[in-house]
Amino acid sequence: MDNLELLLQGFATAATPVNLLLALIGVIVGTAVGVLPGIGPAMTVALLLPILGGLEPTSALIMLAGIFYGGMYGGSTTSILLNTPGESSSVVTAIEGNQMARGGRAAQALATAALGSFIAGTIGTALLVFFAPLVTQFAISLGAPEYFAIMLLAFIAVTAVFGASRLRGFISLMLGLTIGLVGLDSVSGQARLTFGIPQLSDGIDVVVVAVGIFALGEALWVAAHLRRRAVEVIPVGRPWMGREDFKRSWKPWLRGTAYGFPFGAVPAGGAEIPTFLSYITEKRLTKHPEEFGKGAIEGVAGPEAANNASAAGTMVPMLSLGLPTNATAAVMLAALVSYGIQPGPLLLQREGELVWALIASLFIGNTLLLILNLPLAPLWAKLLRIPRPYLYAGILFFASMGAYAVNGSSFDLILLLVMGVLGFVMRRFGLPVLPLIIAVILGPRIELQGRRALQLSSGELKGLFGSVNVSTGQFQLSPIAVTVYLIILIVLAWPLLFALIRKALPAKAQEALEVVHEERVHPQHADDVSVEPPADPEAREKSRQ
């Protein structure tokens, strides 16, 4: 096994004392921000990007991966103890988890979440070891037209599949593409959207956009909604599980993993859908249907496993194709670029050491998280007592420092403020943040691939669907590109197809679909704790991705 050998080398790199320490810091910081609602791993990674500039790329990525995994764990703690999901991916956990905690079984809920996350994360990472090189082999054969199609699919999927409103998704996507356009045209050297400001001709740095949208936008939003009734934190001791809990948990863990990994790996995945599917499945398969809605352990175990497995799955397209499928992966990709490393299919070949060290650190981080989280759960709950002004003052400090450090120019601070206001406005109007950030990062790359494809075909539109075969000189349709375009069409036409399918289905399946739809559009646990009426709870939830 060639991969295994490479992985062992990765362990050797990741297990140096410095890297171990960074992984530990990463998972601690990640768990902390995962626990705090509104402050997610994406924001934290964005804030840390400029600070990590002094580290080796490998060390920096190890720490960022720790934050990514830690955030997934932390989110479950808040969901269970507070009924306030820290992350959109732990929304489903809150349904049963909080009920369990209210019934005095908080310790068991936290334990099944932590163990499930560990098992799913480990299996997911093992699958990553297997799949990443495989996908890379496939990806190397891809040309410009195929890349263009796949990135287009990522855009469409991220906007049309996530979020309650496609219109809002597309608005956000267009905003992001526009931001990505600013600067000199890579082909002709013309200045685009620079408004005669020389500083803009280099383009807007992704770090400034990410910090502005995530950190400043959230800080402004919180400042506008500062006073809230304090919520009750259910006291918890050290998490533990009994034999019966284990018996009821292990199958949901495995099923959740099976849902989570593939969904994380496809360009439109994310964690919301697999966590939800897992919940529905467990509800149907359980031997204790009467407990669902009142705190069934299966309803925590399954979704939490799905959540972490999808985090591992996210790494597959990120490492093999350079495609981020969630906000944190998008910002991590920006980190790679800032080190001058080209993400894409050649990453595994050129930077093999880095990638394998990263994968090895995922195994290490997962284990650290389990050791850390089982005994420390009560401590994490105490984080919620930090007054928001202290917290956000720190975030704003880091945000400004980070934005300034990118180029050492005060102009970036003005840009940061503009992006922050944009982030606030987006939260106010319920625009999802994810399409914007993915568009900013992928926008210039899709443009490059699209134009390359068109150049190869001398500007003919068919160049986007295939390329000229070098040996025969004949134009050939690319089966991959055409398939991807078909998938895009299906995604776009899904509401119509959905309506048709619904008519054709028997009544029982219809009901199930209704439930899925209802729950996705109106999550039950929206912010029901705030004093002032939240503008649009579900949109707010989505915007936190």
Binding site: A230, R385, R388
Partner: protein, 133 residues
């Protein structure tokens, strides 16, 4: 004619409420229960949750005194909330719970109890939690 009691869901706070109920019953006065949070943190252990308020209600009802409960989230310190209510209702007596603090705690943190003791215009009854509570 009212007794104002600063209530927190802690041992000291419950002791204060019990003392206030007793005083009010003796003096035939009504009780105003004040509980507040600055509201700037996600969870505040000093903020009374419904179960705590239920306990306060039943205790005061059992003591046979009339009462109102005021719970505020306005970004003010607990001491300010209590002092405001004292002036507003023209209280005859203020009851608060106090507790021991470590030397470090005294240096780092302000004391709501201290501020109420110094600034209240009516007599203040300071109550400690029973040792075993």
């Amino acid at each position: 004619m009212t007794v104002v009691v600063g209530f927190t869901p802690t041992a000291a706070g419950r002791a204060a409420l019990l003392a206030a109920a007793e005083e009010a019953a003796q003096r035939q006065m009504s009780v105003v229960v004040v509980n507040s949070s600055r509201g700037d943190a996600l969870s505040d252990p000093g903020f009374a949750q419904p179960a705590d308020l239920d306990w306060a209600k039943s205790t005061l009802t059992d003591a046979g005194v009339s009462f109102t409960i005021r719970q505020e989230v306005r970004g003010k310190e607990a001491a300010d909330e209590v002092l405001d209510v004292l002036d507003e209702v023209g209280a005859r007596l203020c009851v608060i719970g106090i507790r021991r603090r470590s030397a470090v705690g005294k240096i780092l943190l302000g004391s709501n109890a201290h501020r109420i003791l110094m600034d209240a215009r009516c007599p203040v009854l300071a109550v400690k939690a029973a040792k075993d509570d």
